[in-house]
């Protein structure tokens, strides 16, 4: 008899399916816009005006970095909590409520961004993913973001309620690993989103509504990065969870160590938030000492990532040896490389290792100056969120969509081709972006081709770099189309009895080997809060002291520009004045 997730939790499966499809829609739109940008920047194909590039860039960033990732991860965590606790969510109306809130938030943000290119929509939000003041969007953009984030808070509350209900029935049991992972991630999400919520509700939204005249850009930037680095781990933790609980099983073995996995998630709870200032090494107005503290905290974050690399690879090796693999490296041949779920996740992990190395360079105070605001950074986060997270999620979808629909995957071989094409496409694109950053090619620029100036690569030419980016972006779009085709065709298929059971990896060293203190969520939250207070109190006080809570008369600036001669003349006049 079939024992898929949809058979165990049919009502929850519907919510997860809705969240996944919301995520795929954002991926389809945001990903396609990425191709437009890449072709425009590299001057291969220009079908939009330069000012529209920034609208497209904003949509690409928000739809992929926020909407795609977070809709998918709320589905994953809902699966993890219900499966590992073996009980449904407490109140499905509440669950649909937070999902609806996230959808409404996304629509508000999406429509306000779309207003940048559609004249019929009297809105504008060309503020990029970071919405730095004094760039000012329509208030609907901020309201949408707030609704979306509050939706995720309620999702977290839903998982906590379900866990508390389970705990009252099982007072002496350890928290099952997937639930532990979802809860610790939710805790640091609460901690870090507090900063951006305060920034939007108390400063930016009143400013965009005209209630206050000005903001302090350094303060709102700092509050953004208070959230902005931790959000990276909010995307990554579900990917980590899948690497811990799915990859060992797919490899044919067991998770090497449950205690080590718990330590990793506790470390992320502690260290995700007090690191954000490493995004502001070049911001004037923050003393070097605070930046040094942020760098130190960031370097500590390498520890849980290295522990994860060890644990996951050890688990895969164990699985491979169970399948008959032998030798120092010969066991690699015994892994299930034909399975797109396994191969996609394994390649995403491999790319993440490369992202870790470029991340160390970003995190180093001195060497960061070389790559700050260059295309290197874009190359870096296309390896982290664009591959470690996105490729893991797409690979996972090949397992999850059959689980929540009861329908067999339409084409497994196409799935394998898809994950490989993504890997190859990202190799070309992110590699070229990293290299171009080293010789100063800027990011966030529509047309980085300048008169009387030529970039000088250490090897090759700028033309080759551009060709690699265009080729990579094209391959990524092809891969995205193959993924969506597989998802649509799977969903159109009939119900199947061939769906694997809804299970996750067993452990070689289980929770009984983990110190009980690891499950003390109150303790870790308290320590995380103290670390945040240490890292942020003095810098924030110093920023407010220097520039005031509402800044020194900063007017909003909307990027809805018309690139005609009159605008140029007006700009020149303003500069001269």
């Amino acid at each position: 008899m079939r024992n898929a997730y949809v058979d165990q939790f049919p009502a929850e499966a519907k919510v997860i399916k809705a969240a996944f499809w919301s995520s795929f829609l954002a991926l389809a739109i945001g990903g396609s816009l990425g191709l437009l940008q890449a072709l425009h920047r590299t001057d291969v194909l220009r079908i939009m005006e330069a000012p529209d590039y920034y609208t497209v860039l904003t949509a690409h960033g928000v739809l992929l970095a926020i909407t795609f990732t977070i809709f998918f991860l709320v589905g994953i965590f809902t699966w993890g909590v219900t499966t590992s606790l073996d009980r449904g969510l407490v109140d499905l109306r509440f669950t649909w409520g937070w999902y609806a809130m996230m959808v409404v938030g996304t629509v508000l943000v999406g429509v306000s961004i779309l207003g940048g290119v559609v004249d019929a929509i009297p809105m504008n939000a060309d503020v990029l993913f970071t919405f730095y003041a004094p760039l000012q969007p329509h208030p609907a953009f901020y309201v949408g973001l707030v609704l979306f984030v509050v939706g995720t808070w309620l999702a977290g509350a839903d998982w906590f309620r379900t866990w508390l209900a389970w705990r009252s029935d099982n007072p002496d049991e350890r928290i099952p690993l997937p639930t532990f992972m979802a809860l610790t991630t939710t805790l640091f999400w609460y901690l870090c989103t507090l900063g951006v919520a305060l920034s939007i509700l108390l400063l930016l939204l009143p400013w965009s509504l005209g209630i206050v005249d000005s903001v302090n850009p350094l303060l709102t930037r700092t509050l953004f990065w208070y959230f902005g680095h931790a959000v990276v781990y909010f995307w990554l933790m579900p990917a980590y969870m899948l690497w811990y609980v799915m990859l060992p099983k797919l490899s044919g073995g067991k998770l090497f160590s449950d205690p080590l996995a718990r330590v990793v998630f506790v470390l992320f709870l502690l260290l995700s938030t007090p690191t954000g200032i490493h995004h502001q090494y070049l911001d004037p107005g923050i003393a070097e000492g605070y930046k040094f503290i942020a760098m130190t905290n960031t370097m500590f974050l390498l520890l849980p990532s290295l522990l994860t690399a060890f644990t996951v690879v050890a688990s895969m090796e164990h699985g491979a040896r169970q399948r008959g693999g032998t030798g120092y490296l010969g066991w690699l041949k015994a892994l299930p490389w034909r399975d797109p779920v396994f191969t996609g996740m394994a390649l995403a992990g491999l790319m993440f290792a490369a992202a870790g190395f470029s991340g160390m360079i970003n995190a180093g105070m001195n060497i960061n100056y070389l790559v700050h605001n260059t295309w290197w950074i874009v190359g870096h986060f296309h390896l982290t969120v664009g591959t470690a997270v996105a490729l893991t999620f797409m690979a996972a979808a090949y397992w999850f969509i059959p689980q929540v629909t009861g329908k067999e995957l339409w084409n497994r071989s196409l799935g394998l081709v898809q994950v490989l094409v993504w890997f190859v496409g990202m190799t070309f694109m992110s590699n070229a972006m990293h290299r171009s950053g080293l010789f100063g090619v800027p990011r966030r620029t529509a047309e980085p081709q300048y008169e009387n100036f030529a970039f000088e690569p250490a090897a090759g030419s700028m033309g080759e770099i551009n060709a690699q980016v265009a080729l990579g972006a094209t391959l990524l779009t092809v891969s995205l189309a193959l993924f969506l085709l597989n998802m649509v065709m799977t969903s159109l298929g009939g119900s199947s009895d061939e769906i694997p059971d809804n299970t996750y990896a067993e452990t070689l060293s289980g929770p009984e080997d983990a110190p009980v203190v690891l499950d003390n969520l109150k303790l870790w939250t308290a320590i995380a809060t103290v670390l945040v207070i240490f890292a942020y109190t003095l810098p924030l006080a110093s920023i407010i002291d220097a520039g005031g809570l509402f800044g020194p008369g900063i007017d909003g600036f909307q990027l809805a520009i018309e690139a005609g001669p009159a605008f140029v003349l007006e700009s020149v006049r303003e500069v001269i004045a």
């Binding site: 491979a320 399948r323 008959g324 693999g325 010969g330 690699l332 041949k333 015994a334 892994l335 299930p336 490389w337 034909r338 399975d339 191969t343 390649l347 491999l350 394998l416 081709v417 490989l420 890997f423 190859v424 190799t427 070309f428 590699n431 290299r435 250490a458 090897a459 090759g460 080759e464 690699q468």
Partner: protein, 69 residues
């Protein structure tokens, strides 16, 4: 085959970053190769790997690939 078809595809995919960056690495030693030369080199390496992969281990043409994938 010495390895499964899936594993062979993965090996070729993982090889691509090395082929792309091999040219950059050589330039550090003052050896400049063109894009075309780099492509030809890559094709030769891929061909060698494919031949190695499909060559029957120990001359046994009926041998099963290692592992169950």
């Amino acid at each position: 085959m010495r390895i499964s078809k899936g594993a062979l595809l993965v090996v070729i995919a993982v090889l691509i970053p090395f082929i792309v960056e091999f040219r950059t690495a050589l330039s550090w030693f003052g050896i400049e190769i063109s894009v075309l030369e780099s492509l030809v080199l890559g094709a030769v390496v891929v061909l060698a790997i494919v031949i190695w992969a499909v060559w029957p281990p120990n001359g046994d043409a009926e041998a099963e690939p290692t592992g169950s994938s």
